[in-house]
Amino acid sequence: MAEGTPPLNDRRGTWKVKAGLAEMLKGGVIMDVVTAEQAKIAEDAGAVAVMALERVPADIRREGGVARMSDPGLITAIIDAVTIPVMAKCRIGHFVEAQILESLGVDYIDESEVLTPADEEHHINKHPFKVPFVCGCRDLGEALRRITEGAAMIRTKGEAGTGNVVEAVRHMRAVTGGIRKLHGMGPEELVVEAKRIGAPSDLLEETARLGRLPVVNFAAGGIATPADAALMMQLGCDGIFVGSGIFKAENPSARAKAIVAATTYFDRPDILADASKSLGKAMRGLEIGTIPQEELLASRGW
């Protein structure tokens, strides 16, 4: 190696680099934004990244119709507005939307059940992409299926656009419970468990050895208050996605700052109490039981 100037054998788009960005986002809050102005408010409040969207999940739910990748012009405007990473969503299985998002310079792609799925059998093969992907899950098997397809980050799905944390809790408990169950299992038992939950056995073995998912796992879907964010952190997630919860609330800036503080000081009720004061009204929210079965977003994907 020549002194001072090593050959530039840089390796881009490797697994370490993809999963590594998620490591940097840990302990942080990723916020849905629909305009450059909202993106700036999110960055000012201390968001670690923003999710660029045309409509937040609460509006997608209300308006119905097919929800697709956002207008590239909007995504570019948001990329130009902030210095933090910008994520964007593509439909499940829509690898061309993913190719377009990668070409825009998006930092992370969310292959998301919040948009209308484009393929009912196949998720995107995420390995060939240089940009990393995050995918949703409801349990350990689903998380490991997404990782084997190349997802470098996982989020529990929750039920987006409801402002109701109950489904996020259900999914986070299913993942952590599924991992706890592996403790003490021998190799032959792990093979059977892998088959039972539909997970690749090598990834399940790695999960058992680590005692956690092999990638970073955020919570999403229904988080609307600082207490919700801290609840998910105490249940063992690595960070928080907030969709409709911020910009559908009365005072988005104050609420965003409070949720950021709550995610860092999640185990300090005194600081949480202080952060939760005088934030104005939270989004109204929906009782899950009142949503028709076919309108539940979490059941999209498999």
């Binding site: 054998n9 788009g13 490591e23 960055e43 933090i84 990473p85 310079g105 992370y108 860092t264």
Partner: protein, 195 residues
């Protein structure tokens, strides 16, 4: 009471868990630091990777003051990636309201290599680690200038990627994401302030 040296890791946001895990492979005890009171019991401090804007926003003024005071008194400090940005005197392409801790006489540019698809793994050579070691650059900053008392420890291409000024060490990359512990070991050779 244990006489083991205690090394704090700023745990507001970012990959502090990886730094704490890296310290477990050494002779010191790693301690998460979120509040000014946490800093009182540590002998050295690591500023991890993450989002520098978020960490700066979350840092309470008392912790900020206390870090600046302790580092001025000689407490060893290491910053990786976002940690390097926090240590800088000047930040280019940051936010106008982004005030770094100004712990070191360096100027840095944020996200200087481009977007995430331009993040990369490479090898970096330095006498500090006695040879070549793995380095992970994620939306990494670049050094744009430094004062005379700042020593260049490593280069990658035409960029200076590791610098030391007295008890202060700044790396543009993430040694904590690799199994190589030599950068942490090197940092632990720095002598602390007299307390």
């Amino acid at each position: 009471m244990s006489t083991r040296r205690r090394v704090g890791v700023l745990a507001l946001q970012g990959d502090f868990r990886e730094h704490l895990a890296a310290l477990r492979a050494t002779e010191v005890e790693g301690v998460p630091v979120r509040l000014a009171t946490d800093l009182e019991n540590v002998d050295a401090l690591i500023l991890p990777g993450g989002e520098s804007t978020t960490m700066a926003r979350l840092m309470e003024p008392a912790l900020r003051d206390s870090i600046q005071r302790r580092v001025a008194a000689g407490m060893p400090v290491m910053g990786t990636c976002a940690g390097m940005i926090l240590m800088a005197r000047d930040v280019t392409d940051g936010r106008v309201d982004q005030e770094p801790l100004q712990l070191m006489d360096i100027g840095v540019r944020r996200n200087a290599y481009g977007r995430q698809i331009d993040s990369f793994e490479a090898e970096v050579e330095s006498h500090a680690i006695g040879g070549v070691g793995p380095a992970v650059f994620i939306r990494a900053p670049q050094l744009v200038q430094h004062g005379d008392s700042v020593e260049e420890l490593a280069r990658h291409g035409d960029q200076v990627v590791a610098v030391r000024q007295g008890n202060r060490l700044a790396l543009a990359f993430h040694p904590e994401l690799t199994p190589d512990r030599r950068w942490h070991q090197y940092f632990l050779t720095f002598n602390g302030e007299k307390r």
